[in-house]
């Protein structure tokens, strides 16, 4: 088991060297084959390119959620069973993140989904059109945000139609 943990720690060290230790806010290894990073917004693209270089080619998905202080976007990268989750915090007032579709083409759909349900704008995304919700979904209503509880959305929809 320890060899596994040592390998995880090596990955973290290499990433720390790559993007500088101050922008790697925190890391954690809860169990074998799982690593959690949290990275500063500016260093996101470098961290992703570095990890892809390390072999984390498969992007399982991008999770978006509203944490205590602003929106959190988590990139779940995967290499042969080892799941590295990269967390990035985004202020709720100005949720903008650079897109990673140039590095991993498969991310194109996940980013559009986070954009639509959470309101995070991915700059440089080929076409950031809405993805899941119907065409007549009112502007600015992001269902996965805490503010928009079910009653709120119902009220908005009924008022809109």
């Amino acid at each position: 088991m320890s060899s596994l943990f040592r390998e995880h720690r090596d990955i973290i060290e290499r990433l720390k060297k790559e993007i500088g230790s101050e922008s790697l806010i925190g890391y954690e290894i809860p169990r074998p084959r799982r690593i959690w990073f949290s990275v500063r917004k500016e260093k996101l693209v470098d961290a992703i390119t570095h990890l892809v270089g390390e072999g984390f080619v498969h992007l399982s998905t991008i999770t978006g959620l509203e944490g205590e202080n602003g929106l959190e976007v988590i990139y779940h990268l995967n290499r042969k069973g080892l799941e590295a989750s990269l967390k990035v915090e985004v202020p709720i007032k100005q949720p903008v993140l650079p897109t990673i579709t140039s590095i991993i083409p498969g991310a194109i759909l996940y980013e559009r989904e986070v954009h639509e349900l959470l309101g995070v704008v991915f700059s440089g995304h080929p076409n950031l059109s809405p993805l899941i919700l119907p065409e007549d979904w009112p502007e600015g209503v992001y269902p996965l945000r805490k503010k928009w509880t079910n009653e709120e959305i119902k009220k908005k929809l009924l008022k809109g139609s």
Binding site: H58, I74, P130
Partner: protein, 391 residues
């Protein structure tokens, strides 16, 4: 440049079992571009998961998809157990693996019937769905229900495998293995099936990796990646098995991959039944889940199933994200469709075994703003034929 025509492959279409709409740009018989317009079966499950307790969520997660319900519940219960730092008794892990493999057999028989129906092979469709009854009866015997098994519970499994059930499963599984070998022989030698499946819906290895495809679609493009082998869960670390890969990158190799996977599942079930450890099958757990962030992955019949749980100490999850396999295969599907024949669209779409209600849990729409006149239903064959007449 001959006329590019925009054709909607309508939400209501005989070859789709669920509402799904693809907007095709077609240059004569060849597909130039495809944009999926999905979301018809979107039920906002993630929002619903957040305001229900963990016990109620179990049954909501199970009903994300009709066929891969065991995969979703295994993934869910594993996530919650990891958050609770509870270790499930080994016998429960083995039972979970057995039911998961039975469900894989069930899914692949179902899928083979659908593909046979798409290429017009009615007889194979009838035969595969007749043999699927065997595995559904086994599951009913084991769990009390043919489709939504409700076998998993947070902290273990609800029903035990008695010796008679285990011998019954052994008998049924043997028949299933032989029948699948016969179907594999048919699908790889029958001339009419080959003409409709070889070099159809090509997904090269390079594209499969870069577009993050998952499951049999990925393994049929010669990429050896299987969650059961790489990131073993339940009892997969103690059960010897190898991931099946083919290098044909087309529908024929996807058929062969799934046939081999059924034969592999038969071996797994036999081994698991033989080495079933004794002991209890469940552990009583508290209803309040301490706060944690968990990523749990399972190899569903259609591909890698990923759940993300963020718990906050109460009895309701704070955020629960589900990413179904069909969603990952969607970009790969668009790649496959482009450049292919129009007549092959139903087969190629059926090739990735799409489960739109899985995917619609969260899905994609590309509303192109330029003038796209919506034809009811699907008229793309007409343009294919007109192009043929000119040829």
């Amino acid at each position: 440049m001959s006329s590019i025509i925009k054709i909607p492959f309508g939400p209501q279409h005989p070859s789709f079992k669920e509402p799904e709409n693809f907007m095709f740009k077609v240059d004569g018989e060849y597909v130039v571009d495809v944009t999926p317009r999905i979301g018809y079966a979107h039920r906002g499950i993630e929002k619903a998961l957040e305001d229900r307790t963990y016990i109620l969520d179990l049954y909501l997660v199970e009903r994300i998809c009709g066929i891969c319900s065991q995969a979703h519940t295994t993934c869910y219960t594993q996530a919650v157990e990891e958050a609770l730092k509870v270790d499930v008794p080994p016998r429960a892990k083995y039972i979970r693996t057995i039911v998961a493999e039975l469900e894989r057999i069930h899914n692949h028989y179902y899928w083979l019937g659908i593909v046979a129906h798409e290429i017009g092979f009615e007889t194979l469709f009838m035969y595969t769905w007749r043999d699927r009854e065997i595995v559904m009866d086994l599951l009913e015997l084991l769990s009390g229900n043919r489709v939504q098994y409700a076998m998993n519970m947070i902290g273990g499994v609800r029903r035990d495998i008695t010796p008679e059930i285990s011998s019954e499963i052994m008998k049924g599984v043997k028949v299933l293995g032989e029948r699948m070998e016969y179907y594999k022989k048919i699908c790889s030698n029958e001339r009419t099936v080959l003409t409709r499946s070889v070099n159809v819906g090509i997904l090269k290895t390079k594209d499969a990796i870069s577009l993050c495809a998952v499951g049999p679609t990925l393994r049929a493009s010669n990429v050896k990646r299987d969650v059961r082998a790489d990131d073993p869960y339940a009892a997969y670390d103690e059960i010897p098995f190898h991931a099946v890969t083919y290098d044909g990158c087309d529908i024929a190799s996807r058929i062969a991959t799934r046939c081999d996977e059924v034969i592999e599942s038969v071996e797994i079930i036999r081994y698991a039944l033989g080495h079933l450890p004794t002991g209890s099958i469940e552990v009583i757990v508290s209803r309040l889940v301490p706060s944690a962030e968990i990523v749990s992955r399972v190899e569903a019949p259609r591909g890698e199933n990923m759940h993300y749980l963020k718990s906050n100490g109460t009895d309701k999850p704070e955020r629960y994200k589900v990413r179904a396999p069909t969603l990952a295969n969607l970009t790969a599907l668009c790649k496959m469709l482009i450049g292919g024949y129009i007549a092959d669209i139903p087969v190629v779409i059926a090739g990735i075994d799409p489960c739109f209600c899985c995917m619609d849990r969260l899905t994609f729409v590309d509303v192109n703003n330029d003038k796209s006149w919506g034809w009811k239903g699907e008229k793309l064959r007409r343009y294919g034929i007109k192009w043929y007449k000119k040829q």
